[in-house]
Amino acid sequence: MAIATHQVPAMSPSRRFAREFFSKRIATGSFVLLLLILLAALFAPLLSPQDPYDLARLDLLDARLAPGTMSGDGSLVFLLGSDAQGRDMLSAMLYGIRISVIVGIASTAIALAVGLALGLLAGYRGGRIDAVLMRVVDIQLSFPSILIALVLLALSGPGLGKIIAALAAAQWAYYARTARSAALVERRKEYIEAATCLGLSGTRIMFRHLLPNCLPPLVVVAALQVAAAISLEATLSFLGLGLPVTEPSLGLLIANGFEYMLSGKYWISLFPGVALLLLVASITLVADRLRDVLNPRLQGPAP
């Protein structure tokens, strides 16, 4: 007495998801943009005309050249101009995006992993673990992330690893809280009871059942946090607490170049600013769409 199913077209969740995601033009556009930016960052060494980290190659005589100017030794054209150190802006930006992306993703990934594990544990187990963890989270959250990162960086000094650690430390609590509340919601759902009823172990329920279902809201938060982390890193660099000057992130490039804005040498600050804007905005847009697609509440009735 098998019943034929024709109610819902049989489509894998990922296909369904992709179709839903790309149904908005702006999401598609920002996704493509983000992809391009990420590819550019990934292949920065191949794409950039100059290795901006090789100090021996930089020539002071090339400092602050306008976009399109040829370098003194005629070896390359500064398409987007050069900075105060004679560094090709295009190359510096490609590498800067790389750093920003690394910082954003690495710090978010660490924070997500830590927050997720603790949040799930707290949400699923409840009781004392939950109480203690959530108090710690409360304390952490009573401090704005920028303050925490600021203090940690002031303590540790500059460096890529340190800024990643500082940003992760400043953000894990968000994930812990989000994961916990997601876990609390999911834990009450009947499929978790069913799993318990089937005698499955707590660990198994936590990781096989709870985790995949708590992940979507966290992924959205994380995607947004990547953007926030990139922005935060830029701000910290601006405040002088970021990365080494010889390996500038976008934020540092902006900070270095800003003073030249007023004297008409707009390219040193403006181009990295625009790059930062595009990067952060495209991540945000993609994350935004992710949220809409993943949130069943905002979806229309099933077709």
Binding site: M1, I3, A4, H6, Q7, P303
Partner: protein, 328 residues
């Protein structure tokens, strides 16, 4: 020549509501026609997704875009609602035509006090002072059997139980003594004892005030002792429509017949229930012609055409092969 009194309060005919969807359009309401008269209760019965709520929204003029009413007329007290603009419709809504929803937990605004929600329903339609409106609200609460209405006016919805919330919603619907109330499964979420109370109260109030009632439900047995007429919907169409007496005692449409036959109370205890095979098809995957035909044992080639809604045995019926044996 019909006199004013003979006019049905509501006469829907050929009502069709469309929604554009990915692969074309769907019609949650397809050529729906029925009438309700003063003081009469009509049950609108159908399974989930059959278009009951959409019919109600269509009558209220509240079909959300991109949906639209594409055909038919909705004649309310002699005037076609489809010819009215939004302003005129708004003046009717809540005043002459009221509606009550299924879930009493969500149809009242959780952050506004009951008095606010009642008074605004009055002042939106008539120029009365706050105090007078409040007095009306108090009376309306008392009428639906809520104790100490004066205090209850100051409460928030969450401070009520489900049954009381639904009664508040009914009180709001009745505030302006409307001529027609459309109830979209208002008792489905409630206990049978509470449902029974509410049915009793509604019945009394309608008889008293002469209000016409459209009572939407998926449960035929709710309609049985309560409504005067019943219309059975299947996949957007009314398949059978007549007095409760006739339709429930002698269902002629195979679907209605199947539904009634499958009710546990109609079967000896513990015996397998006669069941309708298959399930309600999705609107986007309806068979052409009679939409019930691929679940129907009586279906033939002729069912590939849409059966017309015709009078048969004292009811309207949309079937080429009516069930004619007596009893169900």
């Amino acid at each position: 020549m019909k006199s004013q009194a003979d006019l049905p309060t509501l006469a829907v005919s050929g009502l069709t509501t469309e929604f554009p969807v990915a692969g074309g359009i769907v019609r949650p309401v397809d050529d729906v026609s029925f009438e309700v008269r003063r003081g009469q209760i009509m049950g609108l019965v159908g399974e989930s997704g059959s278009g009951k709520s959409m019919t109600a929204w269509s009558i209220m003029g509240m079909v959300d875009a991109p949906g639209r009413i594409s055909a038919g007329s909705i004649v309310f007290q002699g005037g076609d609602l489809r010819t009215l603009d939004e302003r005129a419709l708004r003046a009717l809504r809540g005043d002459r035509i009221a509606m009550i929803f299924q879930d009493p937990a969500t149809s009242l605004n959780p952050v506004l006090r009951i008095d606010t929600q009642m008074i605004e329903a009055i002042t939106a339609h008539r120029p009365v002072g706050r105090r007078a409106a409040r007095e009306m609200a108090r009376e309306a609460l008392a009428r639906v059997g809520i104790a100490s209405p004066e205090e209850r006016l100051l409460a928030y919805p969450h401070q009520f139980s489900g049954g009381m919330r639904q009664r508040v919603a009914i009180a709001i619907a009745m505030l302006n003594r409307p001529d027609l109330i459309i109830c979209d499964e208002p008792t489905t979420a409630l206990d049978v004892t509470i449902q029974s109370q509410i049915l009793g109260q509604m019945q009394a109030l309608c008889r008293e005030a002469g209000t016409a009632l459209v009572w939407i439900t998926h449960d035929l047995s709710v309609v049985a002792g309560f409504a005067d007429t019943v219309a059975v919907m299947y996949a957007g169409r009314i398949v059978e429509n007549g007095t409760v007496e006739r339709v429930l005692r002698h269902p002629r449409h195979p679907y209605t017949h199947g539904l009634i036959a499958s009710a546990p109370s109609r079967n000896p205890r513990g015996q397998p229930l006669p069941q309708i095979p298959g399930m309600v098809p999705a609107l986007s995957a309806l068979p052409d012609g009679c939409t019930f035909r691929n679940r129907c044992a009586r279906a033939t080639e002729v069912c590939r055409r849409v059966p017309p809604l015709e009078m048969l045995d004292g009811r309207q019926l949309r079937c080429f092969h009516p069930v004619m044996e007596e009893g169900a």
